[in-house]
Amino acid sequence: MKFPSSEFLEHLVATLNGDAALDAASRWSDVKVLLRFGDEGYWLKLYGGKVIDHMRYFPMANPLGWDYAIGAPLETWQALREGRRALGHLLDRGEITVDGNLLQANRMYESTHLLLSAVRDLKLD
């Protein structure tokens, strides 16, 4: 399995939907989240504590759009996944950016932390 890839997204969604902490932290969610891994985009629909839909995202690929986007250059994601950089540090310094509807994004802060922790920890083999 390659990072990033559609296969990675499938495993990520399965991991997220098995995470009780994410379920609690997003019980009252109804948001569309765009993950930007470098030039590649992946779209998630987070509703009621679960990811209920997902797709590879291209500009204009999804008429529903997205509420907030979480993105960084691919090198930053690699540094996170290889343990060379701490998630909190990357978020706090704005090296991983959150943009869009920040009222929604800030409300869902804990779920973003859990989502990115899963991105960090998901193994490729």
Binding site: A25, R27, W28, N106, R107, E110, S111
Partner: protein
């Protein structure tokens, strides 16, 4: 003689708990309201200490400087009260304290009177009755993401039932007393408040009880307090509706509250005249 309030810690049920202490004599344990902390009693404590009491005010588990037991807030009033019972055993070993409390603290006072009737000397529940409940819509909002404006709700709901007009400094200080507890604890406090019902156990009460409820406190119907007083057997209960006061009775009128409490304790021969 000045009566300084001193802060202390004790381990109860495996968790580190904070309490304020003031004076010496018969122990008086003061239990704060939901969402609040021991600071609520700071004006009441020295007055009671001057009358010859050792006044003790804990931060209940999950509030301010006390950790929750097993990292989970209490949701049942009986569980809360049992923690208070163990707190009393730890800080007043071998002694029977007078217990007072307001709001959820008043509910705990009633629980102790019903379930540990030989363990306390008297009870003084304020803003409480045999059964309580209000703000009943919060149960599903325990996680912070579910209620982004929760801090504003606490600011307003904690002070809306004071008696107005009220000095602005008292309103502002009261808001700060409700800003040190975690969101989930506050929601659980309301679950416990709505869970409280000791009506089947009132005939177990063996000690004098003094009920006091501010007239402006809309969280409890006056009649519920009066019915509770009437239902406690053997003339053990007295009290009623406090004019010119509201839900934050110990902050709004600490001197008048203390005067009423001391009158009760002297009438019942718990304190000497």
């Amino acid at each position: 003689m000045s009566h300084e309030i001193v802060g202390r810690y004790v381990v109860v049920d495996g968790t580190r708990a904070y309490y304020d202490e003031c004076g010496s004599g018969i122990p008086l344990v003061c239990l704060h309201m939901g969402w609040a902390c021991s600071l609520q009693w700071q004006y009441f404590m020295p007055i009671m200490a001057a009358a010859g009491m050792r006044v003790i005010a804990p931060d209940l588990p999950g509030h301010a400087k006390s950790y929750p037991v097993n990292w989970q807030p209490f949701r049942k009033m009986r569980d809360y009260a049992e923690w208070v019972w163990h707190f009393i055993e730890a800080v007043c070993p071998g002694e029977k304290p007078v217990v007072c409390g307001s709001g959820i603290g008043g509910d705990m006072t009633m629980q102790l009177a019903c379930h540990h009737p030989d363990g306390i000397r008297a009870g003084m529940p304020f803003e409480s009755a045999a059964k309580t409940g209000s703000i009943s819509f919060l149960s599903g909002y325990g996680d912070p993401h579910s209620f982004p404006g929760f801090a504003a709700l606490i600011d307003n709901a904690s002070t809306a039932a004071m008696y107005y007009p009220c000095e602005q400094r008292k309103v502002i200080e009261s808001k700060w007393q409700h800003r040190a507890s975690y969101h989930a604890t506050c929601v659980a406090d309301m679950d416990a408040w709505n869970d409280h019902d000791v009506r089947p156990f009132l005939d177990r009460i063996k000690v004098p009880m003094f009920f006091y409820k501010g007239e402006a406190d809309y969280h409890i119907p006056d009649q519920d307090v009066l019915d509770t007083i009437a239902a406690i057997p053997n003339g053990l209960a007295e009290g009623g509706i406090a004019q010119g006061m509201g839900h934050l009775i110990m902050m709004e009128q600490p001197e008048k509250l203390a005067e009423a409490c001391l009158g009760f304790l002297r009438r019942r021969d718990i304190l000497a005249d």
